[in-house]
């Protein structure tokens, strides 16, 4: 079999394009980061109702993305939802202790995410701390129920 270098070059470029495409799909499309876990810190927050919040939902402050939700489980002691968040480590020790967390909805029917708002306390939150002051998700049915019962009065 005679070797044909033009042909081999073509196949090589083809394979390379496939690998580069896979890297693009990994990094740009699915947002895989290299060494991401090392530069984050964890905060917990307990909500009485998380609505439709799911793991991987974003955590924002003033609309700027600063982290994501990693885990949601039922707190067996208080029977409310315990949400574990991973925040960018540059905010470690910057958020005041009385920071509040609220579950917000993007748009009318969009996905749900967590919005943090800083308070004024001098002490700050560190890795593993719990946010006490939380606001539960807005559940449309409850809102309509309230509206109807107000109308009835």
């Amino acid at each position: 079999m005679k070797r044909n270098s033009v042909l081999e070059l073509g196949v090589g470029i083809f394979m390379l394009a496939g690998i580069l495409g896979l890297v693009f799909l990994g990094l740009r499309v699915s947002g895989l980061g290299v060494g991401m876990p090392s530069d984050t810190f964890t905060l917990n927050a307990n909500f009485s109702n998380i609505g439709g919040l799911r793991p991987d939902a974003k955590v924002t402050m003033s609309g700027v993305r600063i982290g994501k939700v990693t885990d949601i489980e039922l707190d067996q002691k208080w029977f409310d939802a315990k949400v574990v968040m991973e925040l960018d480590s540059q905010y470690d020790g910057k958020l005041s202790e009385d920071t509040t967390a609220a579950i917000l909805t993007s748009g009318l029917l969009g996905e749900q995410y967590i919005g943090l708002t800083v308070g004024g306390a001098p002490d700050t939150l560190h890795d593993g701390d719990v946010i006490r002051d939380t606001q539960q998700a807005l559940v449309l049915e409850e809102l309509i129920q309230q509206f109807v019962s107000n109308m009835a009065n």
Partner: protein, 260 residues
């Protein structure tokens, strides 16, 4: 009456025999030690099956991504959710459209050519002559083509997906004015590498094997006349397309069915 039943039995046995022949054929072709010469043959086929299919895959990927973004935008903007455009384009491309459409194009572009090529070799008795001089046509002709199809379809699928997402970006962000950051960040939030990208590639591996298998088997098994070649080429495209669509449903049910 007895004749009818006998003909039904004959038809069933024919189908079963064809499936058995196809299975043995696949087994004999792919189970062999790689050789230096085999690799050159494989590279030659990679060029024909993969590299030459790039143009059609890139152009179709671009247009499908663009039309997805256009359609998605007009629907999503009604809910005020046009930021979710990137997510919609990426998920539908990576999970479904890239593996399936690339496999259908591949069946039409490369599969039919493989069938016709091997069929003509059979009709002109090249395959028999090879056997006469002691060269196994399964190793020499069929195996490189099977491996080339198996390897190149996943690559074509990845390229299709990337070009489609870029096409969606062109229409959504550059033309319709979706915010650049939310196009990519919504996409990154919702697409998971293992759950979506890798499952799409697994799909395309299965499709690559099935489409090439059908194509080379139809070529190898046809009646060696000009009519036989034309029938077999048609059968390749029809069977391969149906197999891709049917398998896609089964694979989707296995991969995403229990996500709820």
């Amino acid at each position: 009456m007895i004749d009818r039943i006998a003909s039904l039995g004959r038809a069933t046995l024919d189908v079963l025999a064809a499936i058995g022949r196809a299975g043995l054929f696949l087994f004999h072709s792919i189970v062999c030690l790689p050789s230096r010469e085999g690799i050159y043959l494989w590279i030659r086929q990679m060029h024909f099956v993969g590299v030459m299919s790039m143009a059609i895959v890139v152009v179709s990927g671009l247009f499908i991504g663009m039309v997805l973004a256009l359609q998605g935008f007009t629907i999503l903007v009604g809910f005020g959710a046009d930021e979710a455009l990137g997510q919609m384009v990426a998920l539908s491309l990576v999970r479904e459209l890239a593996p399936v459409v690339a496999a259908l194009l591949f069946a039409g572009r490369a599969g039919s050519a493989l069938t016709a090529e091997i069929g003509l070799m059979k009709a002109t008795e090249q395959l028999t002559s090879m056997e006469m001089i002691g060269v196994d046509p399964l190793r020499r002709i069929v195996a490189p083509r099977l491996w080339a199809g198996f390897v190149s379809l996943p690559i074509l699928t990845v390229i299709f997906g990337v070009v489609g997402i870029w096409g969606g970006y062109l229409v959504g962000v550059k033309w319709l004015g979706v915010y650049d950051g939310s196009y990519w960040s919504n996409m990154q939030d919702s697409v998971s590498f293992v759950g979506d990208v890798l499952n799409g590639i697994i799909k395309s591996l299965v499709f690559g094997l099935v489409v090439t298998w059908i194509a080379v088997f139809q070529g190898y098994d046809l009646i060696p006349t000009s009519e036989g070649i034309s029938r077999a080429t048609t059968r390749t495209v029809v069977y391969a397309s149906l197999a891709v669509l049917g398998l896609d449903f089964i694979l989707t049910a296995l991969m995403f069915g229990d996500l709820g």
